[in-house]
């Protein structure tokens, strides 16, 4: 019973405070590694009488074997389909009766399982989550149903212009490397995956040492130790096999056109970017803020929307994953102005490379990023739990929130020119256009 409204979006990203108030705004954290190798992070936030459990397993779709795309995602989804002691109906009946929010997602880097539950139901919630995580059985009939479900959603997504454009972009940019494929796989690849494959994938990668558990909310570390840790200690230690990631990127200009009978073109233009651990990540964050944060003051917004009225939505996105990154500009404009909008976007990329950013613009971008940090990641208990799990996964260190301001403040106009030169490719990029081919004119 996940609330799926625009509200979720607002709550996630629309709060902010000042740099100096940062420490006060984000709850303190404590980290321990349990004897079975599970990393546990705790924070206390008693705003509401609830507790969030967030599990991140380093078992994203990049680990899918070549011929079994969609395996990681189907494994993650199947955790909720049945366990040694609970049937599908029992699981969902319990979740709903407890009023819990339980969801599983699988991306390209990792899978996550999250539960938020009222404090008074905590013990039942912990029993449920540990049972699902430790004792999945991948019941064949349910797995088949889940495959049908994923296939249906794939069909729907395939024709969502924005989704389609972004997925086509990743396929074109990452060529044959593991990030190229959709996490869900394809109708054909799913057909070749059965319960035994899921059990094998689970056996390889679902281990305590490959997992981060964040417990946050109206709960102390003592309570975590007495009420939550024992359940997770039933999970046996094991070692995950090494998988090697071979990055590979499109070389030179690539244009992908997808014809659809729609009035508005969805356009993605972009190139390889940086990995999350790259030290230039912060300089590029500042660049991205100035170029296309999505705020009304960002350059792309000013040039394309405010001055020309060509788009409702235009933004640039840096997606820095563990093993490879990407940079992209995403915009939607009527078919007839696609070429004009693309030209404006390219012009702004070049401007970032050729003209130093003014001190004033730089200051404003930094001030926004630093001030906005705490509630970009900490507006709600669940947001903060998700954030901390990723801080651990990407190896940023739990002092990351404290360091963030100095990392951003260190960025100079010269840094911006340098990273613009290195990570923006206005000419040799991947361009995807989903629109009505007879009306779309690229110049």
């Amino acid at each position: 019973m996940k609330k799926k409204t625009w509200l979720g979006l607002f709550v996630l990203i629309f709060f902010s405070i000042l740099p100096q108030a940062r420490c006060a705004a984000l709850p303190a954290t404590e980290r321990v590694v349990l004897e079975n190798g599970l990393t546990l992070i705790h924070f206390r936030d008693a705003t509401i009488p609830a507790v969030s459990l967030e599990l991140l397993v380093a078992a994203g779709s990049w680990r899918d074997p070549e011929k079994q795309k969609g395996l990681a995602n189907l494994t993650a989804k199947s955790l909720l389909l049945g366990s040694r002691n609970l049937t599908y109906d029992q699981i969902n009946g319990t979740v709903d009766y407890l009023g819990a929010q339980l969801d599983v997602e699988c991306g390209k880097d990792f899978a996550r399982l999250g539960m938020q539950i009222l404090k008074k139901e905590l013990d039942a919630g912990v029993d449920l989550v540990t049972e699902l995580l430790i004792n999945p059985v991948f019941p064949p009939a349910e797995v088949t149903r889940e495959k049908t479900n994923i296939t249906g959603k794939l069909r729907a997504m395939e024709d969502n212009p924005a989704d389609l454009a972004n997925r086509a972009f990743e396929r074109a940019l990452f060529l044959n490397s593991p990030y190229a494929s959709d996490a869900e796989g394809t109708e054909a690849s799913l057909a070749g995956i059965g319960p035994a494959d899921l059990a094998a994938f689970y056996g390889s990668f679902y281990h305590p040492s490959n997992t981060v558990l964040v417990v946050g909310g109206d709960i102390t570390m003592e309570e975590v130790k007495s009420r939550i840790v024992p359940g997770f200690l039933k999970w046996k230690a094991a070692k995950a096999p090494e998988t090697v990631f071979k990055p590979e990127f499109a070389a030179g200009k690539t244009i992908v056109k997808i014809d659809r009978p729609i009035s508005q073109a969805s356009i993605v233009i972009g190139n390889p970017g940086l990995v999350r651990a790259d030290k230039d990540y912060y300089a590029f964050s500042v660049l991205n803020q100035i170029l296309g944060s999505g705020n009304l003051s960002s350059r792309l917004m000013v040039e394309v929307r405010e001055k020309k009225g060509l788009a409702y939505s235009i933004q640039s996105v840096m997606l820095s994953r563990k093993h490879a990154g990407s940079f992209r500009i995403f915009l939607q404009t009527k078919n007839a102005t696609a070429g004009q909008a693309v030209d404006l976007a390219v012009k702004e990329m070049k401007r970032m490379q050729n003209e130093p950013v003014s001190e004033e613009e730089l200051k404003r971008a930094k001030s926004y990023l630093i001030g906005n940090f705490p509630l970009r990641y900490g507006a709600t208990q669940q947001d903060y739990a998700k954030f901390l799990a990723q801080v651990e996964y990407y190896g940023l260190g739990l002092d990351y929130p404290g360091k963030y301001a100095s990392l951003i403040n260190a960025v100079t106009p010269q840094d911006l020119l340098r990273v613009a030169g290195a990570y923006l490719q206005p000419e040799r990029n991947v361009l995807v256009v989903v629109g009505d081919a007879k009306d779309v004119q690229l110049q």
Partner: protein, 462 residues
């Protein structure tokens, strides 16, 4: 497709008083001499405030031939005043690290800033300024209208399900102004003039037609002093009447068909129902939860788990100003029997009439509503939003009745309410029939069959 704004809840009496103690019980209101109401809720969880200005000026205040006006004005509110240009406005808020945005619905337009509590003065200055000093220029208007037309393409024209809902509502509502979409009809958008925008601003943007909601870390007395120095200077004005508008009873089922290129077909049905002014609204909340709250719910189990539909759900919001609709919807791959799907939906409604809901299932529904209600109080912004939603619908104090009302819903009431509203004569049904080459068809997008509000910016998720 499930798109509820789940404000509802219920809980054990003992627990509820504790939970309420943390939030709405402490809310209070004040009124400035010029008529501007201020609703305040202090919460010290972090040094942050959410400052929100709400105008009772949504699409329901528009007139035929000029739809979309309230939303276009919302966009124009970012174009600058006599004192602060649009660029300066954006820069000033950027520097605080604050977030600001705005959204418009049938009932209101709302503007907010979430920012560090020691910067609240900036939000107050900027909002007070644009309540009275907005500069509405022809040139800005022409550009912004283009932006809004792009927004309409994105939200409605290229989304078959949204298009279906627009048509469904236009058929279900006749005399109620919910008849037209918040974003406006395409032809009307082309007809709007800067004079229309100026007139709408002059008529509806004034202290007595607005209210302020502040949640978070602030001190009431000093906040009110600050508001008096700024908003308090705006002269009082007479407001236009805001009649309560209710459609007459339908005299029979209404059906519409939308034929568009689409990968997935959709059936949606809507019944006229009351809002929170009526006790029945709480019963409808519980019904909504029984039918589609979670994967063990009746409609999910019957249609999605039963593999008749890709997605199926109900939707109801009790905080509309005028009476609203209770929606049922299902989407499905081509080739399915639409009559069978439609019948399956109605069967679930019939069961509610004939068989009392068992105690355990009723308790489950109430648990879910309770939990959703509490979890939704986690952010200051959503606390403010909930207060404002109630204020718009019936006065913010009604939020206190909510939990006990839900708690007291009985199986007999569910039978009575289902029998009263879920009748064929009270129903409007819409079918989206996929037409044209399927492989080229646009499809439903995640995030909702029905957007209740539209906003200035769709911001990226980082």
């Amino acid at each position: 497709m499930r798109i509820l704004i789940l404000l509802a809840s219920c809980m054990l009496a003992l627990f509820s008083s504790q939970a309420m103690g943390q939030s709405f019980k402490d809310a209070s209101e004040a009124r400035l001499p010029n008529g501007l109401k201020v609703i305040m809720l202090e919460n010290r969880k972090a040094p942050i405030v959410s400052f929100q200005v709400w105008y009772r000026a949504g699409s329901r205040n528009e007139r035929v031939g000029r739809t979309g006006l309230a939303h276009v004005l919302e966009h124009m509110m970012f174009k600058g005043t006599k004192r602060v240009s649009g660029e300066e406005f954006a820069r000033m808020l950027d520097e605080t690290g604050g977030e600001d945005n705005a959204f418009t619905s049938h009932d209101f337009a709302a503007y907010f800033e979430n920012l560090a509590s020691d910067r609240i003065g900036i939000a107050i200055e900027l909002e007070a300024d644009r309540m009275q000093n907005l500069v509405l220029k022809e040139e800005d208007f022409q550009t912004e209208r283009m932006v809004v037309v792009e927004e309409r393409r994105m939200r409605v024209d290229d989304k078959p399900q949204s298009f279906l809902v627009e048509q469904l509502e236009a058929a279900a509502y006749q005399s109620q102004p919910y008849h037209w979409p918040v974003i406006g009809w395409t032809g009307d958008l082309a007809r709007l003039t800067i004079e229309d925008v100026q007139d709408f601003y002059a008529e509806f943007y004034n202290p007595a037609n607005a209210f302020i909601v502040v949640t978070g870390d602030f001190e009431k007395e000093s906040l009110l002093r600050e508001l008096e120095k700024t908003f308090g200077k705006i002269p009082a004005r007479k407001t236009s009447p805001q009649p309560y508008i209710e459609d007459p009873p339908q005299s029979g089922e209404r059906r519409i068909v939308v034929e568009r290129p689409a990968q997935v077909g959709t059936i949606a049905a809507a019944y006229h129902v009351p809002n929170l002014r009526d006790r029945d609204s709480y019963v409808l909340e519980v019904i909504d939860s029984i039918l589609s709250g979670g994967k063990s719910s009746r409609i999910y189990d019957r249609l999605v788990r039963g593999q008749i539909a890709l997605e199926a759900s109900t939707d109801y919001s009790l905080t509309s100003r005028d009476p609203g609709l209770f929606y049922l919807a299902a989407s499905f791959l081509p080739g399915k029997d639409m009559d069978e799907i439609e019948k399956a939906l109605y069967d679930e409604l019939e069961k509610l009439k004939t068989t009392p809901v068992e105690a355990k299932e009723l308790e489950k529904a109430k648990n879910q509503l309770e939990s959703a209600f509490l979890l939704n109080q986690d952010s200051l912004f959503s606390l403010g939003l909930q207060l404002a939603d109630y204020e718009i619908a019936h006065g913010w104090k009604a939020i206190a009745d909510y939990l006990p009302s839900i708690q007291s819903v009985t199986p007999e009431e569910i039978q009575r309410v289902a029998s009263k509203y879920f009748t064929p004569a009270n129903r409007t049904v819409g079918r989206l029939i996929p037409a044209g080459p399927a492989e080229n068809a646009p499809a439903p997008t995640p995030g909702g069959l029905k957007d209740r509000m539209i906003r200035l910016l769709d911001k990226p998720l980082h």
